[in-house]
Amino acid sequence: MDTVAPPARFDPRGLVELDERVPGTAEIEGDKASFDARDLTTRQINLELRRLVYELGIHEVTIANPGAKHSLGVGILARCKITFEGSLGYFACGLIDGPEVHITGRVGWSACENMMSGVCVIDGNAGSLTAAALRGGDIVVKGKVGARTGIDQKGGTVIILGDVGSMTGFMMQRGRQIICGNAGHGLGDSMYDGVLYVGGKVASLGIDCVPGEWTDADTEFVTRKFGIYGLGDPPELQKFVCGKKLYNYDSLEPSERKLVL
C-alpha cells in the first residue's frame, strides 16, 4: 500500500521548513567548527549554526559556500566568532547581539539591521539599508554600499571605506558613520542626532543636516576605530550633524502638561 505523505504544517507567521532537522554536518575541533553550506537550505544553515553556538558552546564557526542565500546568521545572541567564506544575500546577520562576524564576500540589502552589539566586517560591497535601525556595535564595509545606510540608526558605528548612495543616515537618531568615499544626495536627511563623517564629496545634504565643528574627541574616535580594525590612517574627514531646525518638541510629556495646566 502506498504511504501518503502528511500535509505540510501551516504556520500563520509564514515560516517555511518548520519541520527541518539540524543537519549536524559540521566538523568540530575543540571550540572551533566549520561546515559547508553549499547543499544546505537557509533554515538548515541557521539551525546548524545555532546548534554549534548554543548547544555545543563553540566559539569559532566557519561557514563555507553560503552562496548569497538570504537571512543567514540572524538573531545570534552569544559571544562568538562567525566567518562566512563568501557572499550573503538579504537580511544577513540581522538582530545579532554579541558575535564577531566576518564576511569575506559581499552582502545584499538590509545587512545587520537592528544589530544590538558585536562586530560585523564585510570585505566586499553591501546593498541598500545596511545597518538599518542599528542599536550598537561596529559594522565595517570595505567596499561600497547602496542607499539609505543607517536609516533610523540609534547607536553604534558604521565604517565604510567606499562610496555610499543617497539618503545615507536618513532619520538617524544616535551613533556615528565614518564614510571614506563619496556620499550621494540627501546625506543625513531629517537626522535627529548622531554624527556623519565623510571623506569624499557630498552630492547634497539632506534637510536639516549641517557641517559640524571638528573637535579633538572626533580625531580620537576616528583614529581609535581605524586602529581597532587595522584600516591604517584615516583620510581627512568632514563632519556633519543635525542642525536642529526641525526640533519642535514640547519639552513636557502630555501627562506633565496636564499637571502644569
Binding site: 552562496g67 548569497a68 542565500k69 538570504h70 563568501g86 557572499s87 544575500g89 538579504y90 564576500g105 559581499r106 545584499g108 540589502w109 566586499g124 560591497n125 546593498g127 541598500s128 567596499g143 561600497k144 547602496g146 542607499a147 539609505r148 562610496d163 548612495g165 543617497s166 550621494g184 544626495h185
Partner: protein, 311 residues
Amino acid sequence: MCGIAGIIYRNGNGAQRLGADMTRMLQSMKHRGPDSTGYALYRPPTAELILRIKLADGEGNGDIEWADRLRHRREEVKARLRAAGASLASMEEVNDYTIAARLDYDGDLKHLADYVESVPGAEVLSAGSALEIVKDLGDAKTVGDAYKLDSYLGTHGIGHVRMATESDVDISNAHPYWAYPFSDVAVVHNGQLTNYHQWRRRLERLGHRFASDCDSEIIAVYLAQKMAEGATLEQAMRMSLEDLDGVFTYICVSDDALGMAKDELAAKPLVLYEGDDMVVLASEEIAIRAVIDREIETYDPYESEVMVWTR
C-alpha cells in the same frame, strides 16, 4: 515585489544555453513573484521576421467551442498576415493558444501588428528578427518546461517573475513587454509607476496601442516612442528617469544591447556582475549565483543610474 533578471554573453555567437540559464535564474527568485514568468530571448538576427502571437489568455475553462474558436482565430491571423503582404515561411503552433510565425516582410511593422491584433483575442507578444517573448502563468520551471526553453540557444535575454500589484494575473499582464511597434525591443520592470495614466493618454494620442492594464507596459511603449523620435536606447532610458514617476528598476534589451535604469530613490534592488565572459544582473544575487557557481564580485548600481552593455 517582482523579480527581474538579465544576461548577456560577451561576444556571444548564439550558441549559449540562454533558455536554461534564464530558467535557473528566475526559478531561484520564485519567492519574489509566483504569479507568472516571462522571458525575452534573443538569437543572432535572421533575415526573417519572427512574430509570436497569442490567440487567447490561456485555456478555455470548459468552453466546448474553444478549439473551434482558436482554429478560426489561427486561420484568420494567417490570412491577415498574407493580406498585409507578408509571405509565411513557417507557422509553429507552440501550444493551443500561442503561435510563432516566421515571415518575409519588409513593410510597416505597426500596420502588420495592428492588422493581426484586430482579430478578436489576438495579441502580438513580440516581433523582430532576433527577439522572441515567452510568457505564461506559473513559476519559471512550469513555463520553461511547457515552452521547452531548456534547449533554447541565444545571445542575450531578460526575464521576469511577477507578483501582481497593479493589474490582473493573466498572460497579457505578464512581463516582458515588447516595445510595440518597435522591432526587437523588450522591457521587464520591478516597481510601480505613478504617472501611468498620464503617459498612457499621451502615448495613445500618438497612435500607440496598449495590450494590458499593467503600468510596466508604459516603459516599453515610452522607449519605443523616444527611439522612433530618433533617440538611442541609452538616451531614451535617460529621458525616462525624468519622465516616469514612481519607483522602478527596469531592464531593457534590443537586438545587440542590454541596459538597466534605476529611479532616483533607488527603491528597487538590482545586483550586477560584470565578468569577462558575461554580464549578469538580477534583483537578488542568489539568481546570479544560480548560473555562476563560484565566488564572484558583484555590486549594486546607485540611484538614477543608466548602464548599457553591448554583446
